[in-house]
């Protein structure tokens, strides 16, 4: 093991995982390098755009600001853990049916954040949706379609 590197053990999308990480590596780098998970992406690198959103112990987290070694012992969920084989998660289906994306780069982040929103507020108002998702940016501006997708999932 290289100097300063440590082995972390964690649960990744429901399965035990381990990785050998450097002190300056963030969670996204490790997910991409060691697990070929590319759904969470680094864009702004400052936790401002939401493209790197993953769930850490059930809390939506900016993976680009989360040092990988802090994931030791944690439960990590990524967009790749949502679908069950070919069966998409209802949130993914809603994004698909409402065409709530264009380039798709921000989409996994929005879906992960929506998942937490609906977990906490099963029947969100439009205002609650806007505020909850205001930390996720979509440069293609598919915002009206995202609202529609999330609204379609709200428990009426």
């Amino acid at each position: 093991m290289a100097a300063g590197r440590t082995t972390i053990r964690f649960t990744l999308n429901g399965r035990p995982a381990s990785a050998d990480v450097a002190p300056d590596e963030n969670l996204i780098e490790v997910l991409q390098r060691d697990f070929a998970l590319h759904g969470a992406r680094v864009s702004c690198g400052q936790g401002l755009c939401g493209c790197c959103t993953v769930a850490v112990d059930g809390v939506a987290t900016s993976g680009c600001l989360f040092l990988a070694r802090f994931a030791d012992g944690a439960t990590i969920e990524t967009i790749e853990g949502l679908a069950d084989g070919d069966a998409l998660d209802p949130i993914q289906t809603a994004f698909l049916e409402n065409a709530a994306f264009q380039c798709g780069f921000c989409t996994p982040g929005f879906i992960m954040m929506t998942r937490e929103l609906l977990d906490r507020i099963p029947d969100p108002s439009d205002d609650e949706i806007r505020h909850y998702l205001s930390g996720n940016l979509c440069r293609c501006a598919a915002y009206p379609e995202i609202i529609r997708a999330v609204r379609s999932l709200a428990r009426a």
């Binding site: 450097a22 702004c44 400052q46 755009c49 994306f101 940016l137 501006a141």
Partner: protein, 781 residues
């Protein structure tokens, strides 16, 4: 050019969901951002910290000594490999790495390469560059005045554009190109005017902020060929330009792209590709350079612009003369600025029928980060000027802004200022649409006290860039399945789906069954670029021609094996049938031909629209564009008169689309372009100190978020199938971005009586204008 349009369209005009939708919602979709090559080195760029200087020395010893650093490469190393390492689409003015001089803060000076990206970052901080500073120039108008610091000692136009050749070797100027339009007699026109309006409008420099940051990788096996993987909107151009710079044949350079995480004009022509190509050749290892969001602010931007507009109007509200001078702040490297200057510059008089017009447009070098194409290609800056002034005029004359526009708009059959006769340009239809959608004639709550409400409207016009070429290949496999090979890049606009629809319609297949091969210059044929809303029209034509070619070959086979003339056969759902009830599937045709399921039918199509080159001195042309794009917006806003903050409550858009290939995607192209434009209208502005961007972060540079989206958004497609377009479809990706800014400024005046002539409409600017008008101006800080 004529074509047979089937009486009933099945695939075209259907809102097919994006073909790659599942990949995008599962995160599995391919972006070059994710690509890692075996043995790859990460490059980190050392950038200039000053705006204009001579490089005295570069000390890279500390970086080289850092464990894990593979190499540090400077301009001197590049020169050993490439005698003239300059690139650019209009001017060969951009060095792969700085040579002798730096021209803007952020210009690449050296690259540190390492296996570990963190080591490359750390190494870049250890490179010490000593500069001898020169006086810089930042303002686009000042840069044209005598005595201004000169950014480039000598102009170096690229050979590709004949109309730039006369600039070769020109010295002592910052003006990269001047373009003119002369129509009628503008002095005589002003003599006819009862009122003359003169205003200067300014637009700030903004940045694309693609969420997939720019990224390119290069690899070579022998040092005599290259593969470049790049998040690019123009792989064909990258190939040509890298080959030219290296003195290689094009077929030794392979350039491939994947889906883009946004483009908006940022990833056009050539950006990081020349650098990674040269680095890979120097170190003989695969090299990746991916930018941070901060670095993107120093790489490519939208032109800051000054527009001086003088307009003569008669008492009845007829515009009789217009004189416009536009200064485009191109920053330190021309990129495609000279094209913006000319191709957009000739529409500076707006979508109005004006007898006497004089337009001057100049591309200016300054010591700011380079400017290039940005969704709209310069049009939004011009619309900002002419549509702001349209309301200034209408209000002064006591005319309704909608009626004033409709009185003056160009209608089919009118002569545009370039001399081209207008056709299939629904200017009036777009204005009428947004007026209707917003309820222009109906009263509305105008607010009271601090919160005031107002409405505004604006319309813009763009000429599709011409002449440009697209080529497509349609391959039918022996099982009857169909593959479309095109170099159009899907950056979120839905081109894969739209092009598959065109192929499917032509071949009688279902869109969902077609596979679209992504741009790879070894495989997919030439396409000028994915830019300027050109793909649907140009590549759409090429795809239709290629699919027609494949269809004709299949019909010829069927004629052979069914024993009837091809013309009597129908082709639907992979089955060719005769009038007398017999049929063969595509697969059966291949089996009949070869005795087994083998072989291909390959159809090809190439398209370049007719075009008449404008006269250099007068800008006159009988056919200046293959089609006109029109976009109109109306808004209702609330202005907080105590803070200057504008909230857009309602925004409606209309675009003349010819015919929508995919109505749902087209509607969203229009509405989302308008939402994106809210950023440059209200909040986005690169703020500079000594040429340094002080807000180069999404923390301080505010792109629209969920909290900035109008609660009510409307969109209407104006469909009037264009006779020379594939299935009547025109380009639409930029139209929604033309008019939001002036619509909002016009609503601001409607609400408060104040006029702001500089965009974006930052709260501070609005508040200063309100307070100045009230006679209680804010102090300068």
């Amino acid at each position: 050019m004529t074509q047979t349009v089937k009486p009933a369209l099945r695939e075209v005009s259907r809102s097919v969901p994006r073909l790659e939708g599942v990949q995008k919602v599962t995160g599995a979709v391919e972006y070059i951002h994710h690509l890692r090559l075996p043995g790859m080195l990460y490059g980190k760029i050392v950038r200039s910290t000053v705006a204009h200087a001579v490089i005295v020395s570069i000390d890279s010893s500390a970086a080289r000594d850092l464990p894990g650093v593979h190499a540090v490469v400077t301009g001197a190393d590049v020169l050993k490999l490439v005698p003239s390492p300059y690139y650019g689409p209009a001017f060969h003015d951009q060095p792969v790495l700085a040579l002798g001089k730096v021209h803007h803060v952020g210009e690449p000076v050296a690259v540190v390469l390492a296996r570990d990206p963190h080591v490359a970052d750390e190494g870049a901080d250890l490179v010490v560059v000593e500069y001898d500073e020169l006086p810089p120039v930042f303002d686009e108008v000042e840069a044209t005045l005598p005595g201004a610091p000169i950014v480039h000692a000598e102009l170096r136009p690229a050979g590709t554009f004949a109309d730039l050749k006369h600039l070769k070797g020109k010295t002592n100027t910052n003006i990269a190109l001047e373009a003119q339009v002369r129509h009628g007699d503008v002095a005589a026109g002003f003599a006819l005017a009862d009122h003359v309006f003169e205003d200067t409008f300014k637009s700030g420099q903004v940045m694309h902020a693609t969420l997939e940051p720019m990224v390119s990788l290069a690899e070579t096996r022998t040092g005599k060929e290259l593969t470049i993987h790049t998040a690019s909107q123009s792989p064909s151009f990258v190939r040509m330009e890298v080959a030219r710079m290296l003195g290689w044949p094009e077929n030794k350079v392979r350039v491939r792209a994947a889906f883009l995480g946004g483009g908006f004009g940022a990833k056009l022509y050539i950006k990081l590709e020349a650098l990674v190509a040269v680095l890979a050749l120097i170190v003989r290892r695969p090299v990746r350079i991916g930018l941070t969001m901060e670095e993107q602010f120093y790489t490519i931007t939208k032109h800051g612009t000054t527009v001086r507009m003088k307009t003569g109007v008669t008492n009845d509200g007829t515009i009789v003369a217009r004189e416009v001078r536009t200064w485009w702040n191109g920053g330190a490297f021309a990129d495609v600025g000279p094209r913006v200057t000319q191709k957009s510059g000739f529409t500076a008089a707006g979508p109005y029928d004006i007898a006497h017009v004089a337009l001057d447009s100049c591309a200016v070098y300054t010591n700011l980060p380079p400017a290039g194409a940005f969704r709209g290609f310069g049009i939004p800056q011009l619309v900002w000027a002419y549509e702001s002034q349209a309301d200034i005029i209408a209000r002064r004359l006591g005319l309704d802004p909608v009626a004033f526009r409709l009185k003056n708009v160009l209608r089919d059959g009118d002569e545009h200022a370039t001399g081209t006769i207008m056709s299939n340009a629904g200017v009036a239809a777009c204005v009428e649409s947004v007026a209707r959608q917003i309820g222009w004639e109906q009263p509305f709550d105008r607010g009271t006290g601090v919160l005031r409400r107002g409405r505004g409207i604006a319309v813009g016009i763009k000429a599709s860039i011409s002449p440009t070429t697209s080529v497509a290949l349609v391959t039918v496999a022996a099982d009857g399945s169909c593959t479309l090979a095109i170099s159009t890049v899907d950056m979120g606009q839905g081109s894969d789906t739209a092009m598959a629809q065109v192929a499917a319609e032509t071949l009688g297949l279902r869109t969902e069954s077609i596979t679209v091969v992504h741009s790879d210059t070894d495989t997919t044929p030439y396409d000028m670029a994915t830019l300027g809303s050109r793909s649907t029209y140009h590549m759409g034509h090429a795809v239709r021609l290629a699919a027609d070619d494949a269809r004709n070959q299949l019909l010829a086979l069927a004629a052979t094996y069914l024993g009837v003339p091809a013309a009597t056969c129908g082709c639907e759902d992979g089955v060719i049938s005769t009038g007398d009830g017999r049929s063969m599937t595509f697969r059966e045709l291949f089996v009949a031909r070869s005795g087994m399921q083998s072989g291909n039918v390959v159809g090809s199509g190439s398209f370049e629209p007719p075009y008449a080159k404008p006269d250099l001195a007068t800008g006159q042309s009988k056919d200046v564009t293959p089609f006109w794009m029109i976009g109109a917006t109306a808004v209702e806003i609330t202005v907080d008169t105590e803070t200057g903050r504008i909230t857009v409550e309602r925004m409606v858009t209309a675009g003349d689309v010819g015919r929508a290939i995919n109505p749902a995607i087209v509607e969203r192209q229009l509405s989302s372009a308008a939402i994106m434009a809210l950023g440059s209208s209200l909040s986005e502005l690169m703020v500079f100190e000594h040429g340094q961007v002080v807000n180069a972060s999404l923390a301080d540079y505010k792109i629209p978020s969920f909290l900035d989206i109008p609660p009510e958004i409307g969109v209407e497609l104006i469909e009037d199938p264009h006779p020379n377009a594939p299935y009547g479809a025109k380009g639409v990706g930029e139209s929604g971005a033309f008019a939001p800014a002036p619509a909002i400024a016009n609503a601001l005046e409607d609400a408060t009586g104040v006029r702001v002539r500089e965009m974006p409409l930052l709260p501070e600017r609005v508040l200063r204008a309100i307070r100045a008008a009230a006679g209680t101006p804010l102090e300068d800080v």
